[in-house]
Amino acid sequence: MIAFWALAPLMVLAAVGMVLVRKAVHSALLLAFVMVCLAVLYAAQQAPFLFAVQIIVYTGAILMLFLFVLMLVGVDASDSVVETIPGQRLAATVLGLLFGLVLVLGVAQATMSASVGLGAANRDGNVDALATLLFGPYVLAFEVTSALLITAALGAMVLAHSERLTPKPTQRDLAAQRIRDYADHGKHLGPMPTPGVYARHNAVDTPALLPDGSPSSLSVSRSLQARGTIPADLSPAAVDRTATALDSTDSHQRSAAKHTDRGSGR
């Protein structure tokens, strides 16, 4: 009795919270709380075996699986608040309230006889009694669930497995690709300059200096630039210089073209 009144409001609050919090990992934690509470309520209702199973299977296995997948997907990924389907949230709330109301009213209307209690059924111990049932009348269903579990395991493996669609590139392929990139796009051929070259500091966020003293953006991780740990635009002067150096061949050709233009004009 005490357990119920102590836990029930908390469970409801936790469940509501689970629905409302934005971060999935918080939802998982709140769900874990609800489940543990449920386990307690099972225990309070003369179901010690289910109590154990609830703790072990649900809270222990299933929820851990959830958390594991959350890690995989991104722990701190949170839902955007904007609802994409028009009217969905309102309709869901209204329908949900109505549904809850009807269910509660229905339960309230029902006249239940006094609880019989499981004293008699659990005479030889709850686990023994359940086992008698499971391996007696329910043995077929039990066996079928085993088939179901195996199928599910297999299914999960199949789904998680990803086929390689292209042949795995060899060292030779990678090298050829790099040369091709250089020829086609002028992509830097050699290794990137390491951070901290000619610098006074060798931390990863310190860009290397080029021979002319300007910092090289190639030497630092892009994610550091993206995060703003180091400025993306290192120095205007340096950028200008590199641009001129790169364009020198181009500008020669351009000025030659201008000369011929004038010549033809005369």
Binding site: V12, V19, Y42, A77, D79, L97, G100, L103, N122, M157
Partner: protein
Amino acid sequence: MNTDHYLTLSALLFTIGAVGVLVRRNAIVVFMCVELMLNASNLALVSFSRAHGQLDGQVAAFFVMVVAAAEVVVGLAIIVAIFRSRRSASVDDASLLKY
């Protein structure tokens, strides 16, 4: 202890789970809400089991758990597979199967 209270609690949890399924878009959270609904029904089963003095309700709850476990395994595998190809776990993104 009156069965009614348990049933009411069960109904509330079930409803909250249902609303959660409807309003949340993150597939994993949706899944959690489904689990909440299953658990709510388990609670009702256990309560009825006690009310009637028979263990069949508990057996049923046990089966529900087994099936839920299988379902979670497959469901999460699907989520992972989808995430791998679409970089998203939102249920709304997987809406190609339509008119």
